[in-house]
């Protein structure tokens, strides 16, 4: 890893279909917004380097890949995440009432017990709001989550949401330090082959 990077964090985004999870992600990572954005295809996770309190932190932000459409996220999606963002649409009561189920799923499958959770009420640019700021705040308080209202369309609150989340993660001891991650397993890739393959010449020299 680049020595100037303090750590890499896995952040995931969940919530009902159509609340703007991918839009928030793309607004934050690429500063783009597509009004007509179709259901998510091809977005696995996005990587972004940010600077928090003088430290460079690499974020791998995971999208649901549309698997939430029929409420069928894989448990493995939640593994080893340090941060989780629950999103609802302030103009959709239904997306807010489904938060309990998404929260339960997060609690069930998150492997870091001290994972930092954030609630985002998205689409505050739109009229006909159905969920008040107070309701969102109440839900977040009840579940000890960070809370922010945002708009991926107007950029309102997006940058701040991610920054606050990362700041909180960095302040949480035992959540992201190298020590904690060394307990985990190894990743496979052609770049990480370790040890000497047991070539034939190895045998032959002994015979």
């Amino acid at each position: 890893m680049d020595p100037s990077v303090l750590t890499t964090l896995k952040i995931l985004i969940t919530g009902e279909s159509g609340v703007g999870k991918s839009s928030l992600l793309l607004r934050f990572t690429d500063d783009t917004f597509d009004n007509e954005q179709a259901a998510t295809i091809g977005v696995d996770f996005k990587v972004k380097l940010i600077n928090i309190d003088g430290n460079n932190v690499k974020l791998a932000i995971w999208d649901t890949a549309g698997q939430e459409r029929f409420r069928t996220l894989t448990p493995s999606y939640y593994r080893n995440a340090q941060g989780a963002i629950l999103v609802y649409d302030v103009c959709s009561r239904q997306s807010f009432s489904r938060l309990d189920a998404w929260f339960d799923e997060l609690e069930t499958y998150a492997t870091n017990t001290n994972i930092v959770k954030m609630l985002i009420g998205n689409k505050i640019d739109k009229e006909r709001r159905e969920v008040s700021r107070e309701e969102g705040l109440k839900f977040a308080k009840k579940h000890s989550m960070l809370f922010i209202e945002a708009s991926a369309k107007t950029k309102d609150g997006v940058q701040m949401a991610f920054e606050e989340l990362v700041q909180k993660i960095i302040q949480t001891p035992g959540l992201w330090e190298v020590d904690a991650s060394s307990q985990r397993g190894m990743s496979l890739s052609d770049r990480t082959e370790g040890g000497q393959p047991w070539s034939c010449s190895g045998y032959c020299s002994l015979v």
């Binding site: 295809i41 696995d44 996005k46 459409r69 496979l188």
Partner: protein
């Protein structure tokens, strides 16, 4: 919500087991519209990994499903999908510890007692174990990966390896019936060199056989015709006896005396080539259990547009007047598809071929001093089938600290309880047994026995566009299933690449968006596909 499932689609996959998930991801990857359904409420079908609570739910659910009879339109008929087929059967769960709740125990605190000889002994109660339900990951079908096997290669070449993490199996044992004990199998060159179990001459012999087998294709002149009948004959011809013979048969070749020579050599080659890639033994264990792997492929499929629906009862396959499958009835929706893939255990045209006998134990102590993942290959004793034991510690995420999850796997002869009784009695003790014995053997805290059916289906009995995919078998690794998944894919889409590498999100950092590249790619594929039609 039901209306959202795209129909028609290119490929409809029923069941989220490993083979189905690999095919689904490969098809999505080249831009085909995939719909992947499962009547269960979890991923992985008979490959799944469960927590304590989920395990209980699932074993209950398995019994409750009923079949529904569907009316079908004229000129078509339908085959009912046997959702109530009990693939997992003879389930027996047993607790060996008391039910009582210990007053004032906080979550992670265990009662620690000092035993006579000063060893710290942790005592668990049932409620304490269940409090940690989520820390347990019980595999229905635990399997290992050869570090240079098909599964590892496809995970790496496709990039899907990013969704999982692994631990190297720390050591391999076989059973020495002369000395009645576990015998460590030396894997690396250094292991063989340092082994105190075999003599210098035996070491040389072992090295010679291994290198001969590795070079089998390039230096065939080293082999005599008459040696190449079964593996036993070959070892006889080279005067391989004693422990070296045990190593080679039980652990390196994963064979029997009667195994065909060529098959044994293939296994030896895979074993030797896999050593040293990630560690001292050739095998990897998937962190959080083998059930992670189907999920990895499903995730890849979803990233490329695959639509996932669990808890969808898939009642029947509809066959058109031309004898081809046209789609399925899924809840009350008729989902049309060009190709259908169904897992064997759901396929009404598949028959039970054989079975696997399984036991899962939770124990309080490791069988050996090793602390990660240990593989024990027990040879066939008293005419019984060989038994494989996998012991997993907390570091593999199989259980909480201080406990071990032990998997026993063998081919089914009678029932899981009968098939595995002797082995379990040899290595483990129930808590009730007398104290001296109990201090040496790991004690069983909880056990679960079950059998899993293995199915087979004959392609010539199926419509040409309906494929049936194999569920878990008793083999130790996944490679055969990867090969079969590739064959199914190639048969559906003969001109397409099987799981080409996905663009690495790390490589597109701070550049244009990754999904544009991907979308363009899949659009191109779509066009190619349309031209073919």
């Amino acid at each position: 919500m039901t209306d959202d499932i795209p129909s028609p689609c290119d490929l409809l996959v029923i069941g989220t087991g490993l083979t189905e998930s690999i095919v689904a991801s490969a098809a999505s990857r080249i831009g085909k519209q995939v719909v992947h359904v499962d009547h269960r409420d979890f991923y992985g079908s008979n490959w799944a990994t469960f927590s304590f609570n989920n395990l209980h739910n699932v074993l209950g659910v398995n019994k409750g499903l009923t079949e529904c009879i569907e009316e079908t339109k004229k000129e078509t008929y339908s085959i009912h999908i046997g959702l109530n087929s009990n693939t997992v059967l003879n389930v027996v769960e047993k607790w060996f510890i008391s039910d009582e709740d210990v007053e004032a125990t906080i979550d992670n605190q265990l009662r620690i007692e000092e035993t006579n000889n000063g060893i710290l002994k942790q005592t668990w109660t049932k409620s304490e174990v269940l409090k940690h339900s989520r820390k347990f990951n019980f595999d229905l079908s635990p399997k290992l990966l050869y570090s240079k096997g098909e599964m590892v290669e496809v995970l790496i070449s496709s990039g899907i390896c990013r969704y999982a993490e692994f631990k190297n199996v720390s050591s391999i044992y076989t059973y020495d019936n002369v000395e009645s004990g576990l015998l460590p199998v030396p894997c690396s060159r250094a292991d063989i060199f340092n082994s105190k179990d075999i003599t210098m001459i035996e070491k040389r012999l072992l090295m010679k056989i291994l290198s001969m087998c590795v070079e089998y294709e390039t230096k065939p002149e080293k082999f005599q015709e008459d040696e190449m009948g079964n593996f036993g004959n070959f070892l006889d011809a080279h005067k391989i006896q004693g422990k070296v013979r045990k190593y080679l048969i039980d652990s390196v070749a994963m064979a029997k005396e009667s195994t065909n020579f060529q098959d044994a050599v293939k296994n030896i080659q895979k074993f030797v080539r896999s050593i040293g890639r990630y560690g001292n033994t050739p095998f990897l264990w998937t962190l959080y259990g083998s059930g992670e792997l189907p999920q990895c492929f499903c995730r890849c499929s979803a990233v490329f547009g695959g639509v996932y629906c669990l808890k969808r009862s898939t009642r029947s396959i509809i066959i058109g007047s031309d004898g081809q499958a046209t789609g399925i009835m899924c809840d009350n929706q008729n989902l049309k598809a060009k190709f259908i893939l169904i897992e064997d255990s759901l396929n009404p045209l598949a028959t039970i071929k054989s079975g696997i006998s399984r036991a899962i134990l939770v124990t309080n102590k490791a069988l050996t001093s090793n602390d990660q993942a240990v593989l024990i290959n027990l040879p066939s004793l008293n005419g019984k089938e060989p038994v494989r034991i996998l012991e997993l510690s907390a570091s593999t995420m199989a259980c909480p600290q201080g406990l071990y999850v032990v998997h026993l796997i063998t081919r089914q002869v009678t029932t899981a309880i009968e098939d595995l009784r002797e082995v379990i009695d040899t290595f483990f003790s129930a808590v009730e047994s007398n104290e001296n014995e109990a201090l040496h053997k790991p004690q069983i805290i909880w056990s679960l026995h079950f059998n899993i059916n293995e199915y087979e289906s004959y392609a010539d009995m199926l419509p040409l566009n309906l494929y049936s995919s194999p569920g878990p078998n008793s083999s130790m690794d996944f490679d055969n299933h990867v090969i079969q998944a590739r064959n199914i894919f190639k048969s559906m889409f003969p001109d397409e690449d099987f799981l080409p590498r996905v663009p690495d999100p790390e490589d597109v950092i701070l550049e244009g968006s990754a999904e544009e590249v991907v979308l363009q790619e899949s659009l191109e594929n779509q066009e190619v596909h349309n031209v073919h039609e």
